[in-house]
């Protein structure tokens, strides 16, 4: 048996790693992806002051700090039995839209677009942001960086710091918005809508206009027939900051709905011997291993999971695009993993439109920023991180120190899906032992679509080889190493 290992992330410690096991015929027997997990963090939180949690937890990860900040703040709202004021809630949500604008912009242009805009079969040296800019123009690059910075600026204005916000406090927010700041955010939101429309046009022309790509997106290699989960508003439309957790089945019908405090009655975690990371599954259905279908409790989160778990988007342009995606790809639910990219762009336009709605709301510059808090108890906070449902759960003692913390992060929710997607893509693409660069890239595309975040581990070093391929013979001896940098 031969083993192929793809090391997709080069880090100081704790690599994410894909190992593909071939049988004697050179076909895929099995494939595993190992994700490094930040172990011990919950213990690290114990004994800390409750109000420090929204400051510490964003430091887990430089990729989704705003999501951790607000999951944590919302857990404290619940633990102190208080709702934020109307203005505070709107400000939090506006800041959250800024986070989505910068996060989704980066993913599409730097990580998703190289595969589609440059091409999945293009040489690795061209399949990067520079290849994208060569195709779409250097001015687009300036717009990308500009709008990424707009998203960051929105979070900085409201949050205090762009990367590590400090504004969220139980019952509200620490500072209000001046008219000058409001007006600045309004122009950035306006511009982001135009930029999102432009980005969707690129996707439409280059990806959807190419039959080869559409066939690839809809092919069985990239299909996964799971449940879908996401936060929805009262009309069952996507809500990124707040709402009810809705789960839909393989037919697109509602299977379950619950609120944050009840998550333990609906979601369970399990472990497998070969990985440090846990898997989550729908409790009532149960863990049946790495399989999809109605009898398996595996569910998907993140942009595609959210869109599938909802009936549409709450803003006009985003909803039109939502309906178009569902129609083009065969109706709800769309189970093609590569459709994550389209879903992400629909959310980019939603976040921009919703930011504009919020910043035009007269309440946004209100001065009623905080409600008085109650006694410290227990609380659960949930938000949609860019990569999916994120849950913070704290138990506080009478002095408001953390007695116990439990965190379920987005990539853990999607871990089983990522494993199945990688395995099925490998099975569909590797035949008779033929493994070339194009095939490996197409396998990677199956997990890159999820935008799995290993940011909870340490950051990476500049200049190291980004990926190595190792092939072992049946005696597990390394026979070939390919350095893809």
């Amino acid at each position: 048996m031969k083993t192929i290992t793809i090391d997709p992330v080069t880090r100081l410690e704790g690599h994410g790693k894909i190992s593909i096991f071939l049988n004697d015929q050179g076909n895929v027997e099995n494939a595993y992806i190992q994700i490094p997990e930040l172990r011990g963090f919950e213990k690290f939180c114990e004994g800390r002051r409750a109000e420090d949690m929204p400051i510490i937890t964003p430091r887990i990860c430089g990729v989704c700090p705003v999501a951790h900040h607000f999951a944590s703040t919302k857990a404290l709202d619940a633990a102190f039995g208080v709702e934020p004021t109307e203005t505070a809630k709107k400000l939090r949500e506006l800041m959250y839209m800024g986070y989505y604008i910068y996060d989704h912009t980066l993913h599409f242009y730097f990580l998703g677009a190289p595969d589609f805009v440059v091409g999945p079969d293009a040489p690795p040296a061209e399949r990067n942001i520079f290849g994208v800019l060569k195709k779409v123009g250097i001015d687009v690059g300036r717009e990308v960086i500009k709008h990424r910075a707009y998203g960051q600026k929105i979070t900085e204005i409201i949050g205090g710091k762009a990367t590590h916000p400090t504004c969220g406090i139980p019952g509200g927010i620490s500072k209000g918005l001046s008219e000058e700041e409001r007006s600045q955010i309004e122009s950035m939101a306006q511009s982001s809508i135009e930029f999102a429309k432009f980005t969707l046009n690129i996707f439409n022309d280059i990806v959807l206009g190419n039959k080869k790509y559409v066939d690839m997106i809809t092919s069985d290699t990239y299909k996964l027939n799971t449940y879908n989960m996401g936060l929805v508003d009262k009309n069952n439309k996507v809500n990124l900051y707040d709402g009810v957790i809705r789960v839909t089945d393989q037919e697109g019908d509602e299977y379950d709905r619950f609120t944050a405090p009840d998550y333990l009655d609906h979601i369970s975690e399990t472990v497998e011997q070969w990985t440090y990371s846990k898997f989550t599954y729908l409790k009532k259905i149960g863990w049946k291993g790495l399989i999809d279908g109605p009898s398996s409790g595996v569910y998907r989160v993140g942009p595609l999971g959210r869109l599938n778990a909802s009936v549409g988007m709450a803003t006009t342009l985003a909803n039109t695009e939502y309906q178009r995606m569902m129609k083009t790809l065969g109706g709800t639910p769309v189970q093609s993993t590569l459709a994550f990219h389209w879903a992400r762009l629909i959310e980019l336009i939603y976040a921009s439109e919703h930011a504009l709605e919020l910043v035009k709301d007269p309440k946004i510059t209100g001065r009623d920023l905080r409600n008085p808090i109650g006694e410290p108890e227990e609380g659960v906070g949930v938000v949609e991180a860019a990569r999916g449902i994120l849950i913070h759960h704290y138990k506080l003692d009478k002095d408001a120190l953390v007695k116990k913390a439990n965190l379920i992060v987005a990539t853990t929710n999607n871990y089983a899906d990522i494993c199945i997607s990688v395995r099925d893509a490998a099975k569909g693409l590797i035949k008779d032992g033929v493994v070339d660069d194009e095939i490996l890239n197409k396998i990677e595309m199956s997990f890159r679509a999820y935008d799995p975040c290993f940011g909870c581990s340490t950051h990476y070093l500049p200049g190291l080889a980004p990926m190595t391929l190792e092939i072992y013979n049946s005696a597990r001896r390394l026979v070939k190493t390919i350095d893809r940098s």
Binding site: L12, F41, F110, N128, I129, T458, H459
Partner: protein, 146 residues
């Protein structure tokens, strides 16, 4: 001359937070520099550097050397490796992109100062004593050159 110091790293990961400790100390010393906590060190480094004459990027590394060792590399256009990375955007890609997009708006001098890490897995907001010395070394180096 305007100087910016950009700290990269995870403050909760012991020595990995060395870059963040450097900028915190510089702030406390009221050094005549601007500082930015860039955490993962993604493309926002570009926006942060724009318009400055000089930039320092401070990061922990693990290259097998003696913990606390400080290394200095002047980063110049054309000397950077083009790298494809499957999640996140590394420093070389970021700077190369910056040169393409902004040209002369980037600082004339960009210096990468690295500190050899000993422990990057323990959850701790403090560095190991060896790396603390490296942090002091980096601060002296920056202040000396101002």
């Amino acid at each position: 001359m305007r100087t910016i110091v950009i700290g990269v790293g995870n403050l909760l990961r012991c020595d990995d937070g060395a870059g963040i400790h450097v900028i915190t100390h510089l702030e406390n010393l009221h050094a005549p520099v601007d500082v930015v906590d860039a955490a993962m060190g993604s493309v926002e480094i570009l926006e942060a550097m724009k318009g400055y004459d000089e930039a320092y990027i401070i990061d922990a590394i693990k290259s097998g050397g003696k913990p606390g060792t400080v290394s200095k590399v002047e980063l110049k256009e054309g000397s950077l490796l083009s790298i494809y990375y499957s999640h996140g955007v590394d420093l070389a890609t970021t700077l190369q992109l910056g040169y393409q997009l902004y040209g002369d708006k980037l600082p004339k001098r960009i210096t990468l100062l690295t500190i050899e890490a000993k422990d990057t897995t323990t959850l701790s907001e403090q560095c190991t004593p060896e790396v603390e010395e490296g942090v002091e070394g980096v601060i002296k180096e920056i202040l000396h050159n101002l």
